[in-house]
Amino acid sequence: MSTSSKQMTMREAVGRHVPSGSIVLMGAQLEQMIPFSAGQEMIRQGRRDLTLVGPISDILFDQMIGAGCVSRVMAAWVGNVSAGVGYCFRRAVERNIPRRIEMVDYSNFTLALALHAGAMGVPFMPTYSTLGSDLLKTNGNLREFSSPVSEEELVAVRALRPDVAIIQVQRADAEGNAHLWGSLGVAVDGARASRKTILVAEEIVEREVIASDPNRTLIPGFLVAAVVEEPWGAHPSPVQGYYGRDHAFFSDYHEQTRRLGDFEDWLARWVVRPASRREYLSELEASRLEALGVREHAYSAVADFG
């Protein structure tokens, strides 16, 4: 391992770079590559007063809210994509259980623009989206303004600079130069907008592998504070080329979190008791993991950089 290696365990990465009170971007690639293992480590380390930022997050935000880690959510959609509502989110917003949370409602595009402005180093990005909506009325980071170059009103989306972005990728070198492909969502802007980035990689590879295909390097290592090698780190969400989506896990979560007591049992089984990702994976049957694996590989054609 070279001296510039940023490789560490998930426990170290969260311990060092995600203190309570942080503004944390997760779920940047929407339904794919959600860094569940990172969020669950935050729960185990007892983080409090986090602001979670992400377009949709699927059930990761819901369980972190249920575990009491969160005081604010800045998102376009919070729930369970294939099964419906998120019960922990509902309990928190409707009944302050386990605590009160502030919800800042964005649309997908305005959240993407907030991160884009952060990535560009400008105070806002203009858009026509949300004009006339109650999102514009309720979210103070969306402000109407008169265009200085045309006769019209637009919405200024205030730049967002999260403290840390946690981005799941297929592969990275030990310095954090990362290849990701498939569902990009807001990952590229998200890493640039954030003050630091933690990469969760399915595989750590040699620097030469990354340099062989620089178009696929969407996050350069100098933005990255920590690199965690964590196979299956995104389960139950999918990682293109590595494993599929565990649909049953999402529908089970829906059934097993409807009541508060059941959610606590779910959390104990899947998050609190397993001390590491390895222990979490042993809770899943081997045949289940095998069934989620890629059955038929589909490699891209080689690009010639000669």
Binding site: Q29, L30, E31, Q32, P55, I56, A75, A76, W77, V78, G79, V81, S82, V85, G86, F89, R90, V93, E94, M103, D105, Y106, S107, N108, F109, T110, A112, L113, H116, T127, Y128, S129, T130, L131, G132, S133, D134, L135, E144, E152, E153, L154, W181, G182, S183, L184, G185, V186, A187, V188, D189, S237, P238, Q240, G244, R245, H247, F250, V294, A298
Partner: protein, 245 residues
């Protein structure tokens, strides 16, 4: 409902595809009358060929494999904001007489229920040339006035979108329900344009939360053709997304 939605897509159009029923409608359109329709997904995916497998989310690996492009969210949203996207599909908890949508706050037994929120719905409703709304026809869901405008339709009337600054040539084009199809008059209010086979006008009116106007030349929705039914059965063999009806 899915068949009526599919018929809203013309060949060659760019379509912002949502999940579940809109996804099925898009696939059905491509397999029948609109083989050159192109699908755009909020996660940045652009597809010219349908996914080979039934999807639960737009990020399922089969939706990325064989895609035309896997870009960023901002790329596809930019195309939408440019006005290039002809059709966008949306579901909703509530829609009102001017086509405004609410997916943020619901109500059950007098208690407010927090719903998941906009996702990309507000963006699509603001920016697509034609927005098609799909939902079950119930009086608690087709309401006089939504309590929260997550995604704007025609606001409170026909000049509202212009006044608010929304792009010209955008807005809701149809509300397709389990009972019929509503379109919008020149005053921007929804009216009943067709009823699905076996459904009476009275049934539609009873299940609508406002006094719904009925078209003078009301028609019956053309029933699904043999071809459409065959393709649907193939796309959703276990009726995960469609009921037998």
């Amino acid at each position: 409902m899915v068949v009526a939605a599919a018929r809203e897509i013309a060949d060659g159009e760019l379509v912002f595809v949502g999940m579940r029923l809109p996804m099925l409608a898009f696939l059905l359109a491509r397999r029948t009358h609109a083989p050159h329709a192109i699908g755009l997904f909020e996660n940045g995916i652009i597809r010219q060929t349908p996914s080979p497998e039934l999807l639960y989310t737009m990020g399922d690996p089969p939706n990325l494999r064989g895609a035309t492009e896997c870009g960023q969210m901002i790329d596809v949203m930019g195309l939408l904001q440019q006005g290039r996207v002809e059709v966008g599909f949306l579901g909703a908890a509530e829609v009102d007489r001017f086509g405004n949508l609410n997916t943020t706050w619901g109500r059950r037994n007098q208690e407010r229920q927090r719903l998941p929120g906009s996702g990309g719905a507000c963006d699509i409703a603001c920016l697509a040339q034609r927005t098609i709304v799909l939902l079950a026809h119930e009086p608690s869901r087709l309401v006089e006035r939504v309590t929260h405008i997550t995604s704007p339709g025609y606001g409170s009337g026909n000049r509202w979108r212009r006044t608010e600054g929304l792009p010209a040539g955008s807005g809701p084009s149809a509300i397709i329900t389990t009972l019929g199809l509503l379109r919008f008059g020149s005053d921007a209010e929804a009216y009943l344009a067709s009823v699905h086979p076996g459904v009476s006008v009275e049934e539609v009116l009873e299940n609508t939360g406002w006094t719904l106007r009925v078209a003078d030349e009301l028609v019956e929705t053309l029933p699904p053709s043999e071809e459409e039914l065959a393709v649907l059965r193939e796309l959703d063999p276990h009726h995960v997304w469609t009921r037998a009806r």
